[in-house]
Symmetry: D2
Subunit: 364 residues, 4 copies
């Protein structure tokens, strides 16, 4: 914490601020500058509650310095977190690009299998699909519930893909944790701290989507909630933020990928489907996501988008997903990544991935 | 739904769009204009899932027309919803301004009583305080839980104020519903649809805070979730939205008050404490909130803000709250509102309140 | 400037940062904390160009502390700037509320006079109207140019109101400065620094509108540009900012009023017409603007809004403006302000105005 | 224009709306739906001024349909605009990726030559640098003016690169037009319509940067201003928009690239330097820009960033620029683009570029 005094603050006012800081149990360090004095605060373990410091006579501004996150930070753990899945060579955060694909919602066994067959063949290692759907309208399709989870379990058995699905409350979390390989927490629940804590007590990887107006710090703090309960397998997911721009449903903030990689050891994947809300933007933004250095993609695919019960406008046709994979397969090596081959899962490559912002030009 | 064709769209393309609309079970109405043709869609009861219409050859844009909300709308119910509280003359949505005040969090019996004594004396009819706190950091004070609720119940008994407190998940909702007079749903949970549905099954008023990046439509749809389960006593609350502006913690969007009053019969109160995050902005913005036509205020007050376990920076001192009430008492009559007198609760005034945007100049 | 080191930064890295700071000609002040070290920089007169400090090994973040503005700041001048107009008792920034009203654009002599007659009678001391219009489309009406200025001059002669009109480039600035009493710089030109400098060389008051995405600091820096050229008569104007919210054309940020009053001695008025873009929101937001403590209002009025050549949707009918004035007249005394009486200009009241955020409850 | 009536609107109210539309000179087309009636308006050549339609009894909402842009639209010109430069094989909008690089500001002949030598060798065909600098603070370095332009002209002669530099007002525009090959209009001037019109009368290509809070429509309308004066050589430039996100200086909105390509025939380049404001994000976002389909990059490079007079924090070192080019060179072919070879300008490739959102997987 740094207390910046006004230009015309008196010595007495500076002294009063220092005494206040001491009375709060911290140590003040006044630093007189050319124009004004600043008082650094040390001796705090976590954040200082600024209380009434900024209201004291002579105080111009109080600036927070200490970051509140710990476990998510590279300060605590320098090497990348790589999440692996027993019985498969798929990883998230490793050198192989993780591809998560499937319908917005599981609608029926037929629908799920038809789509799973196509995305698996195209190289996806993870099958995504909602059994519990957080919908803006109470009158919209809310998901099949446990029946949807059972269908996903069958998909896993049939196609060997790992299963990713969303939990929307503590009740659904229990069921999802039972069936799924990765538990998704949606953007609207990014600060549902009760749900985050519960997810932290489960021993399955959690895919945490960025809230629509979450700063990077809030995003990392949400991950901290999960980790603070003992679950260290967190995958971050950028899915677009809310801005004034109206040519896409959300504004996909790709710069958060290198920003996360700089501050945190956690992997981050990108969702260009929700991030744009428009089918014709999904493939270009998928290419960009891989190029920027994302650890994976999560993409909505539907074999009959105009009959989809949700998000039809942003779902790719299977043929478009094939095309997306073909393009991504060409870009991945430039950033030192491998992509699963068509029709089977790729072996884990031996090369190491430096996620701190730049990649070697000799990557491939 | 309106499908706007491109300027150079062919007759065949227009026909194809019309056929597609028919195949979806709706009726197409092509309207040829000077520059281009538009196709209106009717026959839909709710929203049309646009499916793949916007991808068809010759289509420029698909514009949604039908609003998805029903029960919240003045289309369904023209007169204002007024929420009353048995055994008291306080209302929310009636001619009397509702004043909700208290600490951010209940910290102890002593703290709660000290603050309650002051805000009650100043004219607040509702005591607010958190027993379950949604905090950005897992390491911050998370609230006293049920003990906090018990303290609030004592406050109600002692001071005659009604009790407002937040539920953060389905578990806490049950307890909160047992103790509180108004159940608060926080901004971070505005799209926690599972929680909204549960709150809709309770028979107590729900105070629903606007999410940090919620459009007016999303805000109303969240209220629709509560109402769709049978609970019609919903109070909306503007508490600031997330923008680029950095001189306040959030940007308080006061124009949403007349906008809500135009579209909906539900009352709306304003929270200038979270809406600004700075003590010295709370009183000016409270004056503005009353002047714009809000149905009430919800204000954080603490007798020792620099010892507060949360949100100390935005809590008013009791003396400042007295001052705020004095100022608000002068502005309220201009918009045809009454404010409880100091030291006791005001009788319900007989005059009627027109909430649709303007107020008579002869108001008082 | 404050350089925050990483938790695991070595002593050597801290030393290297200190040496770098010295090599830039500043003084480093390392402050070791519990978790990490911070290095304060002093010895700088203006802003430090952070250069490559944030890229040095062991550096976590570089935080700017010194504010770049000088002349606009209360650090330089504690008392309020009050702008007065010879030959009239109207002021901007004094105890009397400044009312600026008129059409979006001057369309004809008849139109201007019809509107001027009404707004003058209702109590406006200033007549606003555009002769040069910055329009989003090149195909929209661009204003009458000098003919419009001549009409405004006639309005001044006829009705005794002072004239406010916009300059859109260096060319129009010369003409506007010749005719007008207040030169308006529009939101789209808030960072047209060339125009700001020219306006700074004129000796007429400048009304500077906040840019659609301007932070408070950028807004004040734009005023600093004008003042740095020697023109100290600057009036700030909040007119709404760009956010995701879509129920109004812009989001009127009323909290900027007390924020400006805290940091700067300059007056600030509010434009609820552009700030909302909807006629039915103008009066409620005008009430709120006065209640929050604004030094004045600038309102669009048109006698035939549906024939207006621009901004018809947000222009009040003269009767609505009468009503607005009647309401504002009731609220102004609560914040210690006077409003011109109907039909004539008000005398300057003797009471003083404290613009730093709160107003005495005994105001009237 | 579409007028949506309220659910309970009477036939009379619908008739009144239709009559109003006729009185404005347009044709009304009432379309009765299941829940409510909508009235389409045709017969308008440009935009309908909605006037007071939305205030009429029974009207719920007025929705604009017609887009105001013409010349920028693919409706007018289907094939891509490719801007070529006589005496060189460089193009913007063609199959070759355009690389614009150089310092933020021209500081001296030595500085300019040192940087030009390096970026030219790395493959840049265009040298960017500011002679007139729009700075937030009036006390910051404002550029060398014409001297800077002369230095740039020498750079062109020496290295064969084309010259790109910013005009900030009508005065500088004349000089810039005389010296430069491409006239840049900065983000802060995107709606300086006076400057846009002047630029439209010049016969040199204009690089138009997106304003910090410009919607896509406003961005295109700014280009329309230039084109409406007869200058059809406009290059759009995405450089980040203003959002709440604070981990970068601006939020680079890459989805605008495919959105522009869908609606307009104009080329669009991306500026990852201003778009992120942080050196360590420039290379990842450059890769993403090329991958998404941008027609070029504009990148800040400085040989001594910590001595730069402006924007040092976001300028790449020449070695980092070499690395950026090496990476971009690998990604370009995936989207069917060529990149100039190291040390010389690339020949124009013969393949055609489809800019409408997707690229063939078999690209090369």
């Amino acid at each position: 914490m740094l207390v910046v005094m006004q230009a015309h603050a008196t010595d007495e006012q500076v002294r009063a601020v220092c005494q206040k800081i001491e009375s709060l149990g911290y140590s003040p360090h006044p630093v007189p500058g050319a124009g004004r004095t600043a008082v650094c605060i040390t001796g705090n373990k976590g954040e200082v509650e600024p209380g009434t410091l900024d209201e004291m006579p002579g105080v111009q501004e109080v600036i927070r310095v200490t970051k509140p996150y710990k476990l998510v930070s590279r300060d605590i753990k320098e090497e990348n977190t790589v999440i692996s899945f027993p019985g498969t060579d798929a990883t998230i955060g490793g050198p192989g690009l993780a591809i998560l694909a499937g319908p917005c919602a599981i609608e029926s066994r037929e629908q799920a299998f038809a789509i799973a067959e196509r995305v698996s063949r195209a190289g996806a290692q993870f099958f995504r699909g909602g059994a519990y759907k957080p919908r803006t309208s109470p009158y919209s399709f809310q998901g099949l519930g446990e029946e949807g989870l059972q269908i996903m379990a069958e998909v896993r058995e049939q196609f060997g893909m790992k299963i990713v699905t969303e939990a929307i409350d503590n009740e659904s979390l229990e069921l999802v944790a039972e069936y799924a390989d990765v538990i998704q927490i949606g953007a609207r629940n990014m600060q549902n701290f009760s749900l985050l804590k519960r997810a932290g007590r489960v021993r399955k990887p959690v895919l945490l989507k960025r809230g629509m107006s979450a700063t990077l710090e809030e995003f990392l703090m949400a991950a901290e909630y999960v980790m603070s309960e003992g679950n260290y397998q967190v995958i971050l997911c950028e899915r677009g933020v809310r801005t004034f721009a109206d040519h896409t449903r959300n504004t996909l903030d790709l710069s958060v990928v290198p920003a996360v990689h700089r501050l945190s050891h956690l992997p981050i994947v990108v969702d260009p489907s929700h991030g744009t809300g428009k089918r014709n933007k999904v493939t270009p933004m998928s290419r960009a996501s891989v190029a920027v250095g994302a650890d994976g993609l999560i993409v909505e695919v539907h074999h009959e988008p105009d009959k989809a019960l949700s998000d039809g406008m942003q779902s790719l046709y299977p043929d478009q997903f094939d095309e997306l994979m073909a393009q991504v397969r060409q870009i991945a090596p430039v950033v030192g990544r491998t992509v699963p081959a068509i029709g089977r899962h790729a072996p884990v490559a031996a090369i190491s991935v430096d996620r701190t912002d730049t990649i070697p030009s000799s990557a491939p």
